[in-house]
Symmetry: C2
């Protein structure tokens, strides 16, 4: 029993003495030891990611029949935590190249730890004085970094789905003036987006009272990019029917193939018809940090709103999503619901300006991670991924029995067995299974009606030699050799 | 330079070698030192909370003119982090008794640290195999703990506002069948809730396309509890006008005074008219953990949906909110939007069943905190708060110059100068300022048209002697003495 445990404990005996960090230093030593033990286990686990497969083979969970009445001892709890770690997705393994799920920056972990300890409330300035200012300031800089003008700015949200929801809520309120009266009295309205857009657009339409039928899918070209002439047709058709086009949503980094809609052409159509232009750059927005690749986002600066997820290609731990507006005052004019219990403030109370009220303190880890990497470090990581995807695309081209779904705009590549006769799905599934046995994780989505093996080259420790070993394994599976041709 | 820095670094030189926890242990020692430094600073800060005022006097933020191109050195970054800590709300000080903002459990910090390191994705089973199961299992147990029946269960969301939003989205979809077609073709519909309900009900109505006008406020009694006979009148009125009552929302723990609507009477009215019954128990739900006080929640077991925030009175760090349903299958039947890129699974992909897609991993800290405290420890903390609020209420009663807004149902107490003549607001504001100078933080909301000093007795280190010292200070301010009467 350490010294601190012997002191007076103001907590009732039913509450463990280390339930909280005592504000009078009385249990500091105990907390120190407990946290050191917990962190040692977590760090040991994470730093050995390469020794475990990308996915747990047969995940087993904690058995719970009832909520425990009495406290579980710390060592038992930390043992259980370790077993949860072992049964989790292990995307830090460089052979994990399957989803848009990054390993986190070191400063994400530090930021989340500090944010949890502080437990300030991002609802209002009073409850998070300096952190609200930090969010406000960094979001203004971020919006400018994406080319938005002087009055731009943004908010952080817990996930990209909420980003698209809020962007479309604002677009709807602007188009239909339905903040007070609702949409029941309005005209029929639609959202135009590509057939490859994220499912969160449908979810937003459902939530916003427009219904999923209000999402009209525009066809894409052979590279998965929205066809502007098809968009134009649909806009004209809507106008002829007296249907209001509430918003046009372009995608920069689609879910399956990661490609980018032609932003300039789409912006032009939106501008000509005075339609809200939203860019879902949840994934591809990270290209803005690369001086080589940011040209792929040209046109994003014309957006009325942009969603960008540092939680994806900027490696900030989940959640961390920026929703930016060309003119931040739309939130006060068309979205805000005032909370009577908040004090007035010169800095906005962000809880009044988001679809959420209370949010987690994502600004801390974002600011720490950006500062620690610098925009240059971010750009370098993005370039590494793009180059690796091109390299993998080339590996596919070298193999006549394989085909890519399209030329990659980002760090994603989908490939499959080239169709000669019949069904490639079974072959692709068997290959997926074989690769999994060889310690590689790729995903296996359906796209254009068939299965593809999907690579997301996001892990900074994944190298050309990882990709080489992957394609060697594919060659072995298929009985093909390209060794000489490399 | 430590040994690990000398090894081959697979990262480009533009990226700091400790940007990530290397999966091959190559930078483990560096990370260990960095994290020890960061944690030492955070723990030093938190364990000295009593030495700093509850609120920073003049918070100063980090100056940022541009996003930095080059990495900021670790020691500079950690110094800046420390300055952010010092400029933040300090609710761990036992004299902080102003908002529903708890100091966090120790295991919240451990949970958030581990969750950030793992960075699994609560979107789908594939991306968070064991954590999705854990959430599913614990939410089922929690729903049963609140008295819901066999088919009940729930999901975690990032904040109570989202909880109310999703509950009302489901209620709307059930009532109006508008998932595909939207509400534009439906009949006029309203949400009935008390005038003291949280502003998130208005926000939900706006977002859901019903408009804020669709929220009809039911009057409350002198204790801030919804008047059931007034509710009944409004239901009858709506039916006579052909208006659909989409949901009745009762509050268990209102925002300003913390009181609880008469749940049994309201449930009866909802049941008689076949109306969705939602209970916003964001705050008061914690009473369920106390064998003494859970009777105050009787009737909650009749709810169709319940929001309960462990992030408030269960001391789990933000965010952590449970949304529970009497019958979890309503989510599949009336809410789900299927994501084509998800693998089928026997355990549900929670991203398809929530207003969010990706969410932060709040299940880990919730499970850890509940296990560490036990339901008994949770109940003890809740009882401590309730008793302290009654004690404070008694302190008010002993002083003829003060009045309470109402008898507390939870751990909140609002009081003000008893009105003799003219305006009590100025006196209350001056007292608020004086108490702040004495190192106490109370909030100062407007309620029933006047200002009140509001106590939230949530800090486990706040004791009767804290309350005594507070009222001593109030007596000094007002020139009153009750010393002999105690």
């Amino acid at each position: 029993m350490t010294q601190s445990r012997c002191r007076d404990n103001p907590l009732n005996r039913a509450v463990p003495t280390d339930a909280f960090i005592a504000p009078d230093e009385s249990n500091k030593r105990d907390i120190e030891l407990l946290f050191a033990d917990a962190w040692r286990r977590v760090l040991n686990h994470l730093s050995k990611a390469s020794q475990r497969p990308p996915m747990p083979s047969a995940p087993s969970t904690i058995q719970m029949d009832v909520m425990n009445r009495d406290p579980v001892p710390n060592n038992v709890l930390l043992d259980q935590l370790e077993s949860l770690l072992l049964n989790s997705m292990n995307q830090a393994n460089p052979n994990y190249i399957g989803h848009m799920d990054p390993m986190p920056t070191t400063f994400s972990i530090i930021g989340d730890m500090a944010a949890a300890g502080l437990n300030n409330n991002m609802l209002s300035v009073e409850m998070s004085p300096v952190l609200t200012s930090l969010e406000n300031d960094l979001m203004k800089l971020m919006a400018r970094y994406f080319g938005l003008e002087e009055n731009s700015g943004g908010v952080l949200l817990n996930g990209g789905t909420l980003g698209n929801l809020q962007a479309l809520a604002v677009a709807r309120n602007v188009a239909l003036d339905c903040h007070k009266k609702g949409v029941a009295v309005g005209t029929k309205s639609v959202i135009l987006t590509s057939v490859d857009a994220h499912v969160s657009i449908q979810k937003a339409a459902m939530l916003l009272g427009l219904g999923t039928d209000s999402v009209v899918s525009i066809p894409v070209d052979s590279h998965g990019r929205m066809r502007p002439e098809a968009l134009k047709l649909e806009v004209n058709k809507a106008q002829q029917c007296g249907t209001k086009v509430m918003a046009i949503v372009a995608t920069a980094g689609t879910t399956i193939v990661g490609n980018i809609d032609p932003l300039v052409a789409i912006a032009k159509i939106a501008h000509e018809h005075d339609i809200w232009f939203h860019v879902d750059a949840a994934y591809g927005g990270a290209l803005q940090f690369s001086s080589c690749y940011r040209t792929r986002l040209v046109g994003i600066e014309f957006a009325d709103s942009i969603v960008f997820n540092p939680q994806k290609w900027l490696f900030v731990s989940r959640t961390c999503v920026a929703l930016m507006f060309r003119n931040l005052s739309v939130l006060e004019d068309h979205f805000q619901i005032r909370a009577p219990y908040m004090l007035p403030s010169t800095v906005p109370n962000l809880g009044e300006l988001t679809v959420q009220g209370t949010r987690s303190t994502d600004i801390l880890k974002l600011w720490l991670s950006l500062s620690h990497l610098g925009t240059k470090g971010c750009g370098t990581l993005v370039e590494q991924g793009c180059k690796l995807a091109s390299y993998a695309d080339n590996c596919v081209r070298l193999r006549p029995y394989l085909q890519s779904a399209c030329t990659p705009d980002t760090n994603l590549l989908c490939f499959s067995r080239r169709l000669h006769d019949g069904d490639s799905d079974i072959w692709n599934q068997q290959l997926h299974q074989y690769l999994s046995e060889q310690g590689f994780f790729l995903s296996l989505p359906t796209y254009r009606g068939i299965r593809w093996l999907r690579m997301v080259l996001l892990n900074p420790y994944t190298t050309q030699s990882t990709v080489d070993r992957l394609f060697d394994a594919i060659d072995i599976f298929s009985g093909f050799s390209t060794r000489t041709s490399r």
